[in-house]
């Protein structure tokens, strides 16, 4: 054994990180942290950053601008944290370029924190309310995303300065068996959907008596309405890398791959850079931290096929074939990539490893439930006031998550359903809101934990249409290997399309039910086995909605466009007002004889723009189902039209 231990090797790196931070701290300059993950950039964070730079230059104020990842509060983007010496750190939300200039002038220059535009402070003080008292912050328990939004994802030293890679250096001094044991004890279950115990998977890989083993991080994130994995990678890639190295050490793997979708350009860039930096510091690659342990880690870009999130299909795609699912067993841990034992885990699973090994299995088990310990990250989107990423302990109920943490349903609408688990999951109605969010309870209710996508739907969402949407997705994404999945989903989709168009038949519901069961039984991989779930749950919980479509040609939520119509209530329409006219993309709105407005039902494409455009004090635009209930108002002859004007 040589004299340098991993800890000694690491100390030099950590000192470097600390030195850099001290230098920055000693300048005593204000700091402006700007969230620059995809959601922030989409909301205009780049422009906001430029505006800050400009304003600071204009005012001749020195400050440090720090690009950080996503804090999860996507509703508040661009989100900025300002650390002004003498003040508690303050969050500002929705910071436009104009706001940026104002913050620089009023707060940094004149010492006025702009109470009306701030979100809250992160430390106790007498003046400014603290964010930890808001439900959106208070319920959260951050383990996986603890550092997200506070560090610069493109700077490995920032991660190290926040305690990163410390666990790796400590663990490399222990035996791989000890690491494995701790992960087994923690009870961690895979966060990619199925909830398979991670420790068990790792042990199987460790016990395989083959020299060459592989670790793959599944960042394919196929669920079309979820973005947790992407945001974690964009905000804190090193925590995932650290987890992968620890896994490789525990199971004895020498090769690793991070499988990210190519459609995530920012994540790809951030990971590429992170891998270079980690390799540069000897945290991955040959002889990690001076030990005998080597782990070659690279990036593979997935080409956008939902089924490639399935582990055997993913392996096919890395090997250069069509991503077609394979029969299991053998499971990848026995015979995976190129026949080598392969551990595949989700991004969040790997991101949980370093915290578990740092603070111990007992600590981890103290969060969450007995059978689903720890925390989980959800992307809660759709009709909620505060959409974004939320990390909570397992076992918190849906009501708390949706109505309290995420602020409930906007626009005074009623809650209708929550869709969990994406295309493989199900829609749960209000009476399930008290269901705790953990692997087993959700499965029992007919939904699925999935990877963490939660879409909240209000009363204006049609459940038949939602089921159709998901079937449309899975039907297109079926790899085509199993007949039931390939043809069956197409058939299901056809029936659902018919129903949403008002052409449903009485026998359809029975067919949907039976076909769903057959597809579940007749498919090889999880895609087919779960594809009918949205149909099965919506049929179970919202049957009357299907019946209204079929028997009365009525869409109760007024969402299915073939079954609804827009019309203008002439009693409410204000004479001479033409707010709606310009909003119509197809010129379907015309002026009636008495200078009010009406909708030409033949031209109307039912986009609903006129309803938005109509001033609230009139609220004259109405939506109705079935469509034939809309009053038909004839278009006046052209001549009269002229006269009226």
């Amino acid at each position: 054994m040589s004299q340098t231990t991993p800890r000694i090797s690491f100390n030099a790196i950590r000192e470097q990180a600390e030195k850099r931070r001290k230098e920055l701290d000693e300048t005593g300059l204000p700091k402006v942290h700007i969230g620059m993950a995809t959601c922030g950039i989409a909301a205009g964070a780049l422009e906001t950053k430029t505006a800050f730079e400009q304003a600071l230059a204009d005012q001749n104020i020195a400050a440090r601008i720090h690009a950080v990842g996503c804090l999860g509060h996507c509703y508040a983007e661009p989100l900025v944290l300002v650390e002004n010496p003498g003040w508690p750190p303050i969050f500002y939300y929705g910071v436009t370029p104009g706001n940026a200039g104002m913050i620089v002038r009023a707060f940094l220059r004149d010492g006025d924190p702009l109470l009306e535009t701030l979100l809250g402070a992160t430390e106790p003080n007498d003046l400014i309310p603290q964010v930890k008292d808001f439900p959106r912050f208070a319920f959260e328990k951050k383990v996986i995303t603890q550092k997200s939004g506070f560090i610069d994802p493109e700077d490995v030293y920032d991660y190290i300065d926040h305690g990163g890679y410390e666990t790796l250096s400590a663990c490399l001094e222990k035996s791989p068996g000890d690491i494995l044991q701790e992960v087994v004890h923690s009870g961690l279950r895979g966060r990619g959907g199925a909830g398979f115990p991670t420790g068990t998977k790792w042990r199987l890989a460790r016990e395989a008596e083959i020299e060459h083993k592989v670790v793959i991080c599944n960042a394919d994130e196929g669920d079309p309405g979820a973005y947790m994995d992407r945001t974690i990678l964009e905000s804190n890639p090193h925590q995932v890398i650290e987890g992968m190295v620890l896994c490789a050490y525990a199971v004895g793997a020498s090769k690793g791959i991070i499988y990210v979708r190519a459609e995530y350009p920012l994540a790809v860039r951030v990971i590429t850079k992170a891998l270079q930096q980690a390799e540069g510091l000897g945290l991955i690659g040959k002889n990690i931290l001076g030990t005998d342990f080597s782990f070659d880690l690279s990036l593979f870009q997935g080409s956008g096929a939902f089924v490639c999130g399935e582990e055997t299909a993913m392996i096919q795609s890395i090997e250069g074939y069509r991503g077609v699912a394979q029969h299991r067993p053998p499971y990848p841990v026995e015979k995976g990539l190129y026949g080598w034992p392969t551990v595949i885990n989700n991004v969040k699973t790997f991101a949980s490893i370093a915290p578990i090994l740092e603070r111990g299995a007992e600590w981890y088990r103290s969060m969450g439930t007995d059978k689903s310990p720890g925390t989980a990250v959800f992307s809660v989107v759709g009709n909620v006031v505060h959409p974004g990423l939320v990390e909570i302990p397992m076992g918190v109920d849906l009501r708390t998550l949706i109505l309290e943490i995420c602020g409930g349903i906007p626009n005074k609408k009623a809650f209708k359903a929550v869709q969990i688990g994406g295309p493989s999951g199900g829609c749960l109605p209000e009476r399930f809101l008290d269901t705790p969010i953990d692997f087993d309870s959700l499965t029992e209710a007919g939904a699925m934990m999935g990877s963490g996508g939660i879409v909240v739907m209000d009363e204006d969402t049609c459940m038949v249409e939602v089921a159709r949407y998901f079937l449309d997705f899975t039907q297109k994404e079926s790899c085509g290997k199993c007949t039931f999945c390939r043809v069956g989903t197409k058939h299901l989709l056809g029936i659902l399309e018919r129903i949403t168009k008002g052409e449903g038949r009485e026998t359809d519901l029975k067919t949907l039910q039976e076909l769903s069961q057959d597809i579940k039984l007749g498919s090889l991989c999880g895609l087919g086995k779960t594809a009918p779930n949205p149909v099965i749950t919506s049929l179970r919980y919202f049957r009357e909605e299907y019946e209204a479509h079929i028997k009365e040609k009525r869409c109760p939520a007024k969402m299915c466009r073939s079954l609804t119509a827009f019309y203008i209530d002439l009693d409410k329409c204000a004479r001479g007002c033409d707010a709606c006219v310009g909003s119509c993309p197809v010129e379907a709105i015309f002026t009636t004889k008495d200078r009010k407005k009406a909708v030409d039902q033949i031209l109307c494409v039912k986009c609903g723009e006129c309803m938005v455009a109509c001033p609230v004090e009139y609220s004259a635009v109405k939506k109705i189902s079935p469509a034939q209930l809309a009053p038909i108002i004839p278009r006046p002859e052209k001549k009269e039209d002229k006269k009226a004007e």
């Binding site: 993950a37 995809t38 079309p224 309405g225 992307s379 989107v381 969402t461």
Partner: protein, 174 residues
């Protein structure tokens, strides 16, 4: 169809040459070529096949399996409309239809003048801004049919401005 120039032939060869001739390089090579040219031409796929020692049909079969690959050049302004769950629930379909109507093409197609193309994508990671559309790499949140018109108008105006500038430049130079 788009002719492949000698220079492009060369570029394709460079893309392919960067990878070892083994089956596992197939998808990364195709990605590299698409990065370079924005689509996969028949010629490029034949060259890839030769490099890897497999049939062009095999390359095509793999390429068509994945959503990422396109086989026609996209428009200069590539429009992508998000139809992820959050965007769907908030009316993404209506936005897509508006683009289609305005440009007179369907999703997956490119306008005749090669200016615009429309594609659908699933969740671009900013569901809080749903419905979302992308123009090139730029994300436009809270889309509405009226904004569709504005976006396309904006591009046309910008193009006209550039043409005016160019004309001015040329007349100044002559």
């Amino acid at each position: 169809m788009h002719e492949i120039s000698a220079e492009e032939q060369q570029q394709i060869a460079v893309c392919i040459g960067a990878f070892a001739p083994k089956r596992g390089s197939l998808v990364p090579i195709l990605q590299r070529i698409q990065d370079e040219f924005a689509y996969l031409s028949g010629e490029a796929m034949r060259k890839v096949a030769a490099h890897l020692g497999i049939t062009p049909g095999e390359v095509y079969s793999v390429a068509t399996f994945y959503n990422q690959f396109r086989f026609h050049p996209p428009g200069k302004h590539a429009i992508k409309v998000c139809l992820g769950t959050a965007c769907h629930v908030r009316g993404g379909e209506v936005i897509l239809e508006n683009f289609q109507r305005k440009l007179g093409i369907r999703e997956g197609q490119t306008t005749e003048d090669k200016e615009f193309s429309i594609d659908r994508v699933a969740c671009v990671g900013c569901c809080a801004l749903a419905p979302v559309a992308l123009l090139g790499d730029k994300v436009y949140g809270h889309m509405a049919p009226s904004k569709v018109e504005g976006l396309i108008l904006g591009i046309h105006l910008e193009k006209e401005r550039q043409e005016r500038e160019k004309a001015k430049h040329e007349s100044n130079n002559s």
